[in-house]
């Protein structure tokens, strides 16, 4: 199997799916002639022509609404939003239209499409090229939210997203677009939506994560294994909505100690949902507080970006806190 970067894997997947489904069209800013600002769609316009790889005017509301119209008509469009930070001019189209079309029409007009968009920090992008707004999407019924953590899963998850008849927000951790290569199956390959993977098995502490943070979680798992002999189970959620509760429950029942690592701002972020689900379903298994390691509740900084993003040190600190926790006997 060839080793691909995340960018290459996504490009290959788009290309292969486009070959077999003429209903797929790509659209977005600078995705044609320029091949996309991250070069994800490089070469596709030469292969599929400008009618299927469409350079659009500068309007995210336009891009998403236009794609929605195509989808209602029966195409399977894949709009790209250049940075997820710029999706908000199109948010009304997502929140009010895309996510509710099937419901409001009594199932008559589903909107089969995938919005691809790079997200997250780690590239020196400051306030408007770094954000991780997955919680906004995950709070919006009717959407599916998918985040791959590497090239192989990206192919499987993107293929499934493209074939799914519900609208999917496919968030690409741009920090790892070219960070490493992975073997990716050459032919058709799917990973089902709504199913997490256990990225590392362990017994002491469960770490829930996804996207580029998964790698920080894994690094930390190595570190605390080496330094403190703590065995972490690291779960890659892969799909945030609908979430794979089964895999989470199984792990937490085993470890009794759980935390999440996410890049978004903390308050009402996605980690909150994870904590809440566990606190309502699994309280009797818990032997420690449920901690969240997240970005801070500030806009995304520039110079202090390394301090802002969850680091191995910060994750380790939380692992140790919950690992070393024992009930102090406080009571009412």
């Amino acid at each position: 199997m060839p080793e691909l970067t995340l960018v290459e894997s996504i490009r290959q997947t788009l290309s292969q799916e486009m070959e077999q489904d003429p209903k797929i069209v790509l659209l977005g800013e600078d995705i044609g002639t320029n091949g996309g600002v991250f070069r994800v769609t490089e070469g596709l316009i030469d292969k599929f022509g400008p009618e299927r790889v469409i350079d659009t005017p500068l309007s995210e509301s336009g891009i998403i609404g236009f794609a929605t119209g195509m989808a209602l008509y029966g195409l399977h469009p894949i709009p790209e939003i250049q940075f997820v930070d710029f999706i908000w001019p199109g948010w009304d189209q997502i929140m009010s239209e895309l996510s509710k079309y099937r419901y409001r029409s009594g199932g008559q007009y589903p909107a089969h499409l995938v919005i691809r968009t790079p997200y997250g920090g780690g590239v020196g992008g400051a306030l408007y090229h770094s954000q991780s707004p997955e919680a906004y999407f995950a709070h919006t019924p009717g959407l599916k939210v998918v985040i791959p953590s590497g090239p192989k899963d990206a192919k499987g998850l993107l293929t499934s997203s493209i074939r799914d008849s519900d609208p999917v927000i496919f968030m690409e951790p741009k920090r790892i677009y070219r960070a490493f290569r992975e073997e990716v199956p050459e032919g058709e390959f799917t990973v089902p939506l709504g199913v997490a993977s256990v990225a590392r098995e362990g017994d002491d502490v469960t770490i829930l994560s996804y996207g580029s943070m998964l790698h920080k979680a894994l690094e930390t798992a190595d570190k605390v294994r080496d330094e403190q002999h703590i065995s972490c189970e690291v779960i890659d959620l892969r799909t945030l909505l609908p979430l794979d509760i089964t895999t989470i429950e199984k792990s937490v029942k085993k470890t009794g100690r759980v935390m999440s690592v996410t890049e978004d701002t903390k308050t009402a972020g996605f980690g909150a949902e994870l904590s809440a689900l566990i606190a309502e379903r699994l309280i009797e298994y818990l032997e420690a507080p449920i901690l969240r390691v997240t970005g801070f509740d500030t806009p995304f900084p520039f110079v202090h970006e390394p301090d802002y993003l969850p680091s191995v040190n910060r994750i380790q600190d939380s692992v140790l806190q919950i690992y070393n926790y024992s009930y102090g006997g406080a009571s009412k």
Partner: protein
Amino acid sequence: MFTLSSKNVEESPQFKQIIVPDGSVKKDLVPKVSNKELVRWYRTMVTVRVLDEKAMRLQRQGRIGFNVPTTGQEAHVGAAAALKDTDWIFPAYREHGAALYRGLPLRTIVNHYFGNNDDPHRGRRLPGLFGSRDQRFVNPSAPIGTQIIHAVGAAYAAKYLKDGTVTMVFFGDGATSSNDFHSGMNFAKVFDVPCVLICQNNQYAISLPVKRQTKAKNLVDKAIGYGMPGIQVDGNDVFAVYSAVSEAAKRARKGNGPTFIESVTYRLGAHSSSDDPTRYRSKEEVETWEARDPIKRFRTYLISQAILTEEESKQIDADIVDNLNQLVKEAEAVEKPPLETMFTDVYEEMPWHLKEQLENLRRIMGGGK
């Protein structure tokens, strides 16, 4: 007091009018349409008006939850009539006429008004916000203007699939200020899609008169900034509306791209069943527009041309009222949609968390439906 642009508009050379308010016509402009078809138009227009009156009454009696009246804007039946049945319509919420013309059964609309189990939307929508796949009449939302870009995207799809379909989108004067008027107009022309964009300028966005919505001399001028052709028509004149849309649809079908139509009309009733229009406009203003009533005008024409007799016209009215009353009676008796319809159609398949929420609710309601 009287802030409408209509007077100057009627004198402007770009303004299209065929049936003058008194019912006489500019002969050479009358579209070639069979008498039978004209009667179909008329019947549809009257149905819209009767439905409107009935729905307002039902709403006031608390029997349905809401109504958006369309009285005064019935001539837009002519817009639907100018398309093929395979063309797609993206309505706002005053396009009952287009839906009925397309063949959406009045029974379906009435069921929808009651949100009963025969409502295709399973009682999920406010009365008035309906659509139908069979009729290619897309379900509108409530946020203003969003459907404009959908129609443009659908038109792109039709062009891509080379199936000869045209899409048409309705919106109001207020919607011209919305984000997706801007994106819709721009994308439509940049990609030269087969789309007819028709603005029902009914002079108000709730209480805001169009003169304070924009300082464009005429709404039709907005087309210039997008490099798009524009047509301004008398929107109370079913012939003018028909012929403008015919021209635009022909252009679209030929591959020559979109057209913007400003259709100058007036909402004679309230904005919705929650609105009191006397707060923001005068009786005299309304009366001026009543004199331009699209149905009266068309009826006068039909009778003057002996296409319809006075008597036949009265019979049509009476039939429609009877039929509607019967449908209301039947719809009111249909049960409401079952509980699970609150949870279905969020996704193609119901995910675990919705199943759990439904089960939990059922448990608490004691097996309630």
